[in-house]
Amino acid sequence: MSHMSNTAISVSDLSKKYGERNALSHATFEVPLGTVCGFVGPNGSGKTTTMRMLLGLISPTGGTGEILGHSIKHPEKYLPRVGAMIEGPAFYPALSGRENLNYLATLGGFSTDKVQGLLEQVGLGERAKSKYKTYSLGMKQRLGIAAALLPNPQLLMLDEPTNGLDPEGIQEVRDLLRTLANNGTSVFVSSHLLSELEIISDYLVMLRKGEVVFTGKIQDLLHAQQPLIIAKSENENDLTKIVEIARSAGHHAVIRDGAAHIEGPKDWAVTLNKAAFDAGITLSQLSPQLPNLEETFFEMTGDK
């Protein structure tokens, strides 16, 4: 087992079964060191199960995994260098934010001197003495992130860290993760805010029904997708006609969010424009573009 690995996370054939149900099936992927890796998949696709196995909370029923060069069978070898928040923050309600972090710092053998600094870093400095049970969802989430940062982690694993945060909070988390990555911390983050992940992630692991459907650089995924032509008509009823024109020309087309989404090269937009004009349709928008992560996600997971 190599201790000088170039990967923060490496799993091979990792599986977890609950009775007859496959929560994760033969997952194989790697997350390079120093990257921000988005971990996406619909609800129940196995994201949290995977994170739990990587943190030694549950045992795999098959396969192997390594974190920072150490087997997941020996979490004690890598957990001191890993920060994590999975399935939302969980703290003692009767203790304050500071007391909760002091508790975890003592448990992990870290200095409690850094606790106030961390609370200020996540914007909880002024509420450090308030009991956890009085915190809003966003504040709880911030405390969870502060707890994950306690060990100065080499790898940070966060499950839906922006849940409950306002737009400003989301921006702050995004900046924080980017800063950590720039300083060499590897970040493995799951989120349902795909537009956020698209902005901050270099790398992506996508799950569907317990199976890995994509792993690699996020740009490679997006560039591999068919370019899209987005068309809107002045009269919304004409969208169906636009889709019919596209389909009759052999292009895959659907109506989504009040626009026709047509797979095809950007040159074909000229042909569509002419065909729409001939059919008496006035287009209000016609723009060729690469699909974004959200569209790609729905396409690959078949969720929409």
Partner: protein
Amino acid sequence: MWRVAFAELRKLRRPTLLLGTMGAVIFFSSLFSSLLFILIDSPQGNSERGRMVGRQVLSMSSGAVQGFSSVGGFLGIIALCVFAAQTAQEYTYGTLRNLLVRQSGRLRILFGKFVAMKLFALAMIVVSAIVSISASVILAPGAKVPTNLWFGADGRHAIFTTFINVVISVIGFGTIGMVLGLLLRSPISAISLGVLWLLIVENLLVAVKSSLESWLPGAQLRIIASGGARTGLVPGITYSHALVVGGIYVSVGAAIASFLFVRRDVAN
């Protein structure tokens, strides 16, 4: 293990828990000891289950700790509740996953928590001993109980042995609470089941068949607290019998719970 224990003590010393528990300890310790002297001439008895503890017994060298040994079983129930709640709440709050990420050695977590809770129980017992012995000293003259033997060499020995017996008993009760907390993973279920069994089910079973008192876990731990003195219906349950039977219950329960804690997936 010590890091876990120190961390756990941060949680146990919070005012609500500490003052609430110590308040209950002070109340019941003074109540049990006071009743011994206030009801000394009552035909209904002045100790648990209507037992009569007369002036002759109270004036012996062990007289100062009669109240303390009587409250031992009750301290055990308090310890059971505290140990069960502190263990099971890690599941209900979901904080166990934080603990395991920061300290992956599961047995270390278990032993660390156990050490911290033992220290908490020890503080509880010290407070109880001080309160009940003080109450006895204050009330003895009014009940015409001589106290000249209480703090001689034999008296100090009696205080020491009773203290040790109560410690063993309370730790035993606490361990049962911790085992229930680990098995049931819910503070309410663990405390309800523990208290229901110890206070109601065991008493009903003994009322139906008195010989069962020799084999029930709660009865053994109460007998240990009272130093092997006869507490119930079955005469002659010795200290060593209670220690062996109670020890087997506690050890087997702790072994099963530890095994499950180490092997079980943490899925909440």
